[in-house]
């Protein structure tokens, strides 16, 4: 399907996704579509399967059954094209504490074989406001600064799809606000965002659509009208 046709292009297309860990079914037949440029919040109680779904989309976890396509490509395309177009921010930073901000980002930029990695690193460091701490070891940064560094890492290769798994976890209110502002800018840039959060109002504010996972099942999927409405649906659908 071409851009601009009646149906927009799917950034993420998940069909019948099942993920089992031994006898535990973490995801039980998930069907989910996110259009390119859309921003979606994924809510659900602890253990609902949000992180598992994000890890499957990021090709960190192999599905037990079902199909995932990102920008029309199967995850395991053999060339890493999907990974080249996907970024992930998690509550873990994926950074090395003993290396500085710049060293960590340069390492990542080289793994992605970016041209002129030093310039690209300087660009994202400025974007997340870490210039004054760029030579400091990551372990000396506060949780908020480390999360900004993690965002810089995820943005290094200019991904079209940004997966955000509980990115506000452990952040104080001002650090969370700053991160939310940056995510709003990314959404306004036209990137596709998938955000998991327990913070319904913040998640709803950042998203065009929302979905709710409960016990590995997708129990709601719709447009965000207001955060109050999202909260109401969340309470209804996640009742035990």
């Amino acid at each position: 399907m071409q851009e601009g046709a009646a149906q927009p292009r799917a950034a993420v297309d998940v069909r019948g996704l099942v993920k089992r860990f031994g006898l535990t079914v973490a995801l039980d037949g998930i069907d989910l579509r996110i259009d390119a440029g859309e921003s979606m919040a994924l809510f659900g109680p602890n253990g609902a399967g949000k992180t598992t779904l994000v890890r499957c989309l990021a090709s960190l976890s192999r599905p037990s059954a079902g199909e995932i396509q990102v920008f029309g490509l199967p995850l395991d395309d053999g060339h890493g094209e999907v990974r080249r177009r996907t970024g992930l921010v998690s509550h873990e930073t994926f950074l090395y504490g003993s290396l500085s901000v710049t060293e960590n980002l340069l390492f990542q930029a080289r793994l992605f074989a970016l041209s002129d990695p030093a310039a690209r690193v300087a660009d994202v460091v400025a974007r997340v406001g870490l210039e004054s701490r760029r030579d400091d070891p990551v372990r000396t940064l506060s949780r908020g600064l480390r999360q900004r560094c993690a965002l810089a890492r995820a943005l290094l290769h200019e991904p079209d799809l940004l997966l955000l798994d509980e990115p506000f976890a452990g952040l104080d209110p001002s650090a969370a606000d700053r991160l939310a502002d940056e995510l709003e800018r990314l959404r306004d840039d036209g990137r596709t965002l998938l955000l998991t959060s327990h913070d319904l109002s913040r998640g709803a504010r950042l998203s065009d659509r929302f979905a709710i996972l409960h016990n590995g099942l997708l129990v709601a999927d719709g447009a965000v009208e207001s955060s109050d409405r999202v909260s109401e649906i969340y309470r209804q659908r996640t009742r035990a």
Partner: protein, 225 residues
């Protein structure tokens, strides 16, 4: 494979900064050598008989510390996921980690060998029949240790009882390699040269190839959920 080289560089950068694995591994090996030196005090005649066992006991037990650290750094704050997200063959991660571990092992084993020579008054000349064979055995055995150690470390680090899991998995797997290393070292200390133990050398080469093949093929699956 270019990415593998960046992983080696990153691991060395990390080690130069922290020196955690280098210092603990070297210190452990030195302590083991000292204990044997005081306990046995072997004369020149005994060293050909007990020397290889002393040397490889020190090297193997010390290597376990370095092997254990190898994948642990990748688990801290989910760093391994950062590697898995990169658009590269995931076997490149194995190659990079194994090469970095090999360099770390060699960097601790060379001073350990020097101390072994000094403590036990081991003759290493003429170099062609003693020192060169000794260094060759060290390189071959270390390659095997790094190759299987990286794989085992990736398995053990996912386990809650990783300190127990690592030696339980590693020691049986490296037994043939260690046996060949001890026999070859014995010949090197006796000044027989490598030609006298070509069978053991071929065995070490074969195990290096097997360990590398297993690691290269299985490592991506070991890292995924």
């Amino acid at each position: 494979m270019r990415q593998a080289a960046w992983i080696v560089r990153k691991d060395l950068q990390h080690e130069l900064r922290s020196r955690e694995a280098f210092l603990s591994t070297l210190l452990f090996a030195v302590v083991v050598l000292l204990i044997f030196a005081f306990a046995f005090d072997p004369g020149p005649a005994d060293i050909e008989r007990v020397g290889p066992g002393i040397l490889w006991s020190a090297l193997l037990f010390a290597a376990v510390l370095a092997i254990g650290r190898s994948m642990l750094t990748e688990r801290e704050d989910g760093a391994i996921d950062g590697l898995l997200l990169a658009p590269m063959q995931r076997s490149s991660i194995y190659v990079g980690k194994a090469c970095a571990l090999l360099l770390l092992l060699l960097s601790t084993q060379l001073p350990t060998l020097l101390l072994f020579v000094v403590f036990f008054d081991v003759p290493v000349l003429p170099a062609t029949t003693r020192l060169v064979p000794l260094l060759s055995v060290l390189l071959l055995a270390s390659t095997g240790l790094a190759a299987i150690g990286t794989t085992v470390s990736a398995i053990a680090v996912r386990s809650r009882s990783r300190e127990l899991m690592l030696p339980v998995l590693l020691f049986p797997l490296v037994s043939p390699l260690l046996l060949a290393a001890v026999e070859s070292t014995s010949a090197a200390l006796a000044g027989d040269g490598l030609s006298a133990v070509s069978g053991w050398i071929r065995l070490m080469l074969a195990f290096d190839a097997i360990y590398l093949g297993i690691g290269y093929l299985t490592f991506p699956a070991l890292l995924e959920d």
